[in-house]
Symmetry: C2
């Protein structure tokens, strides 16, 4: 295991805090109080210019007065003093810091300058730090809570790394109510030093953490993020919400943490590539994350549903079905055993419906256990287990009739030991999710305490099962490593260098194709000619029909400008086309003579670079699919074979690649190879800014690139991506 700078930061033997005092309404005081009161066992050094004691601990007038260098310095101070204080801790030899103070990059140029100074100071002393503009961390394993709000009870299993501090502070009471407990949580703030990738790696290695949630406004180290996640997701689920991909989201994120966002489709593709489950609300991070952390994985897609009410049962069944799981009818034998627990109007098929019936024991335990034992399901969803919550609702009207017996006394008569109920999923290693409209109920409470998630509406229970099932498929997906990059082609590099030297922004079509050919991309046979006779000769050699295209680096939209002539069937048509092209171009330009590739299916592929992610490979079904439907997918280079194949399966119109309407299935291996090679090419030639292969025609099953464009980056850059 790699050492992670967060190891020490999350487990300091001693913490010095600047900005805490005895004024209870100050943020620093609240944070210090949480450190002290939530159970941290290490040393705690408040630094305060005037107070002798802070929160009952001896206070030190300045950093230099500290007895020995603390492992961790925490700064909750005015923006202007942060740099100076970090310097002092650096001189003392403190290796880690958390800078809570805001007012840096997120406020504009001046703040950005200050943030740079923080970075310089930290680098000078080898300090690794979180923030600025963050809310601190939580480590439930050592009862360390540096946030503003007190921690949930006991150690948890969900790890959280977030670019919004709120999601590890304001939500703590919300989470406690749901029984969701963090193992470790990290608010990364502006990420001037340690960032969300460091936090992800840390949580990935942390044994206590069973699932990881990420709130993301923008990732700087994209490629590193993917690699880190790819190491984690085969054995630990990761969920992420990304909100930076819309105009408003990007602007809001920038003003929040100054983070650099990318388009939504980039993150959509990257999450898939990394095996990350994407969610669209913080609720799903928490609830699906907790379900993944707390429940066993299903071994298949069969769900058993048990309920005391048809509506929720139907809604769960429908939601599971829509999301790709099944709710199969139970065998007659199982139904017979279930019917022993049912009233006559109940239903024993799947969903099992007890109808309005107060035998909660059968609903919560007897029937679910029968189902789990049967071997007929891989997961169970249960709606309606309720006792105290329901009684409390009806009690006020019943009190009189019950002779005025106090509620608690009444309830005691009905109270049951629920230990076997709540242990079912762990006993049978089959996941169980529960929904109940009664939040304040002894069943709900017992489930929550015992790591069985309880949802407030039935559809959410179903969606949590779908998240479990989704992760099962992620775990099972084929994993291949990206192959070694090939030897760079010196011809390709020469063509690029020469074009740059001539001041070109892109290669012309002919040279673009020569670069692609150097990496084994399949092209239509083609010759570049400079004169009419040459064109005719080339066409005759090639065999009719042929295509003629005007070729020049300055020419875009060849088709609209009349520079492409298709299906030329003989000498005279070639001659006519040659003159028409010269006329349309306004001068005699080089012309490409190509074989006419026929096929009913068009595809496209390409490369674009994104800051932090380097070159990313794009694949789509060409023509209307891409233009009218936006049906394309993207992954960061380099691509392994399985990643490239996943791209082919990741477009909505994927049926087109199969034996559609009597056409032969596409050569998927060759298609995957094209995508892999596009990625390799872009990594090997950093001056390639964009590649556009459009269309690639499926000639029978064989993909052939018919038109291609390589766009160049005018300014050189190091390595494989702009970071």
């Amino acid at each position: 295991m790699k050492e992670n700078p967060l190891d020490l930061l999350m487990n300091p033997r001693s913490i010095a805090v600047v900005g805490a005092g005895n004024n209870p309404m100050k943020m620093g005081t609240m944070q210090a109080l949480n450190i002290l009161k939530d159970g941290f066992q290490g040393a705690f050094y408040p630094i305060h210019p005037r107070e002798k004691e802070v929160l009952g601990c001896r206070a030190y007038p300045s950093v230099s007065d500290l007895p020995d260098p603390p492992d961790l310095a925490m700064l909750i101070v005015p923006t202007a003093s942060a740099v100076e204080l970090l310097e002092e801790f650096g001189r003392l030899g403190t290796p880690r810091a958390i800078i809570i103070s805001a007012g840096f990059k997120e406020t504009g140029e001046e703040g950005a300058q200050l943030e740079k100074k923080l970075q310089e100071t930290a680098r000078k002393y080898g300090i690794r730090f979180l923030g600025p503009n963050c809310m601190g961390v939580l480590n439930s394993q050592v009862s360390l809570n540096m946030t503003v709000i007190r921690m949930a009870d006991g150690p948890g299993m969900l790890g959280m790394a977030t670019q919004s501090g709120t999601y590890v502070t304001q939500t703590l009471a919300y989470l406690r109510k749901k029984g969701i407990r963090f193992s470790k949580a990290v608010s990364v703030g502006n990420e001037a030093d340690l960032n969300i990738v460091d936090a992800l790696e840390y949580l990935g290695q942390d044994e206590q953490t069973r699932a990881i949630g990420l709130y993301i406004e923008g990732i700087r180290e994209g490629r590193r993020f993917i690699e880190a996640a790819q190491k984690i997701t085969p054995h630990k689920p990761v969920l992420a919400q990304y909100v930076g991909g819309s105009a408003a989201g990007a602007r809001a994120g920038r003003s929040h943490t100054g983070s650099m966002a990318g388009p939504d489709y980039l993150y959509e593709g990257v999450f898939k590539q990394a095996g990350i489950i994407r969610v669209h609300s913080i609720e799903d991070i928490y609830e699906h994350g907790w379900t993944l952390a707390a429940q066993p994985l299903p071994r298949g897609k069969r769900v058993g549903v048990v309920t005391n009410s048809g509506g929720p049962g139907t809604a769960i069944a429908h939601t599971c079905n829509e999301g790709g799981m099944e709710v199969p009818p139970f065998s007659e034998g199982l139904q017979e055993r279930i019917r022993e627990h049912l009233p006559p109007q109940g239903s024993s098929t799947n969903p099992v419906d007890l109808t309005f019936h107060l035998d909660v024991r059968a609903l919560s335990t007897g029937i679910p256990e029968l189902i789990m034992q049967s071997g007929e399901v891989d997961a169970v969803a249960l709606h309606g287990a309720m006792s105290r919550g329901f009684m409390k609702e009806i009690y006020p009207h019943l009190r009189e009739l019950l002779g005025g017996v106090p509620f608690e006394e009444l309830f005691e008569r009905f109270r049951q030991d629920l230990s076997d109920t709540v242990s079912l999923p762990f006993k049978y290693d089959i996941p169980l999710v529960v929904s109940s409209f009664f939040e304040d109920d002894n069943y709900a409470e017992a489930y929550r305490k015992n790591n069985v998630p309880v949802f407030d509406v039935p559809e959410k229970a179903a969606r949590a099962l779908l998240a479990l099932y989704r992760y099962k498929t992620i775990r099972e997906r084929e994993k291949t490593l990206p192959p070694e990059l090939p030897v760079p082609s010196s011809e390709a590099e020469r063509l690029i260098e020469e074009a740059l030297a001539r001041g070109q922004c892109s290669l012309d079509e002919y040279d673009s194709k020569r670069v692609l050919a150097a990496y084994g991309i399949p092209l239509a046979p083609e010759r570049r000619v400079q004169a009419l006779e040459e064109a005719v000769e080339a066409a005759e050699e090639m065999g009719f029909p042929v295509v003629l295209k005007g070729c020049s680096p300055d020419i875009a939209h060849k088709s609209e400008r009349g520079l492409i002539k298709l299906g030329l069937k003989n000498r005279s048509e070639v001659q006519g086309a040659y003159f028409e092209i010269a006329e349309a171009a306004g001068e005699e330009i080089p012309v490409l003579v190509s074989e006419m590739v026929r096929g009913e299916r068009e595809l496209l592929a390409g490369v674009t670079r994104f800051p932090g992610f380097g070159p990313c490979v794009l694949f789509g079904l060409g023509g209307v699919f891409t233009e009218a439907l936006g049906d394309f997918t993207i992954r960061a280079a380099p691509l392994s074979r399985s990643e490239a194949e996943e791209m082919l399966a990741d477009v909505r119109g994927r049926a087109l690649l199969e034996g559609f309407r009597g056409l032969p299935p596409a050569d998927r291996e060759e298609l995957a190879r094209i995508l892999q090679n596009l990625g390799a090419l872009s990594l090997l030639h950093p001056r390639v800014a964009e590649i556009d292969l459009n269309p690639i025609i499926l000639s029978g099953s064989r993909p052939v690139v018919v038109d291609a464009l390589v766009v160049l980056e005018r300014e050189a850059e190091a390595g494989g991506g702009r970071t």
Copy 2:
């Protein structure tokens, strides 16, 4: 206003209940208690064989002992006794009933027979009834609650009609916590008499009801449902969840209320046609329904976001953006006024971020009011207003520091009058939605009490705004009435009758097209010929190239069987094709000679019948779009012009109909006319079971039907739809 049988049922002057007693754990007793204790002012007659008094009211030994016929009879009795009791109430002259008892159609054939007897008995005496297998009704206007759980406080604004009783009982406590209050709620159960359409019509006319939520497992009177909803949705929002469209949902629904489900796409289309907002969870029915009932509508799509935390602000902005609303940056002037309320590290653009800052007054009131006054937004979303909830969280750790002051005393020091805060949306007629992680907070409480919806996570607040915006667009959509049906074509009817007389299941292509032609559907010029010379003559008359097709009612998949010959350019090609068709067919069959229609875009249209909905018109972009992407849409006939036009806009590849890739825009008027005429034709000829126009080729902008099939219904049926 039409009289609705539910008027009296929801407002009875007297109720007789059979099945209530003095045993508090019986369902009937609980329901009777709610009637008595939740404030119903009418007469209440319990019927009980032994007890003299039930719940303090004089009990009657049998129905015939009642002093006068009650307006409403409520039966919570064993299945077997329901019919007899209904008969007794009928004899007495009781006009309305609610049959809570289960065990009818939902349990199988025997139950279905009993249910039929209920219907016969009711019909005999003119009783209109709800159920069986339902949970009763709620009418908050007259404090009448017949369900099992006590009612929320005070009259509400959300009307609910549901095929699952749970959603008006088990959820009452859940709703109370959220501040959501029903105006009226109806559990329709098995719908043996009154059904969800009656309930919808009733709620549509009810003045107290400001928005309507529907939970649906299957609709029997589909066409009536659409018409009822179309009358309501232009002035009152309707939301619906449909769960019967998946295999598991359909089975679960059938075993729940015996309801007949249809495919998901049918309801998707029908909801759009009716102006109903579709939701996918009961939470959204309640929360979006309540927001629509309680808040003003936005006048445009501009959202202002105010928060004390960047993450939730960014998430709200992103969610609004993705859903089609905007979060525009504020003008410099407005930002300047906002900055007066902000700490230095805050952000005054949109979203406004106060950062962690305890000036809740600025967050909740000062800044939102500035924004509402500015004219720069149409809606406001607010995250993080919190006082008591937050203080309660930090208090335990602070207590000591605060000199042990009790929490309530501490809180009183900070308590503020929130009346101006909560009245903002109504003062400015601009919707306000709030999210807060602190459910138990004085702000949340005050908002809820004053009909400002509070959500537990920020994304939900954003999605509720999107529901408001969605309804605004529904209100504004163009409404046209379906035109009068044309005079039925006697030729079409003759062709259909003759084919049926010959025992055909469908018309051959030629006759199919003659039927279509009779309703003005544009077809490619075509002749049916019986001999080679005729074929050649027809082709020469028409002009080459032509198409030859074998024509017989028994022939499907003409293309795969080699019965279609395209692009025949001269006499000899026609001759060759003619022989090839005869050979492929195994005999000389009639042949169609058609003009070769050219175009790069294929569409399809058709008709299918669904039980209860009658003929439904389908439209899609043909070929791969429909087959590989399932990109089609459906509406029930007859279609108004605007409904037909909405179908054209309701396919994902709609850009194809516009000036795509230099092609001329499709003639939308003609396309809409085709869809309208398909609907009219099917209504006029009930023996037409299905129509399939595939492909319709866009020749330039003009749609031309190239292949067509009319499938016939062997058994006659009355009217326009199977019901």
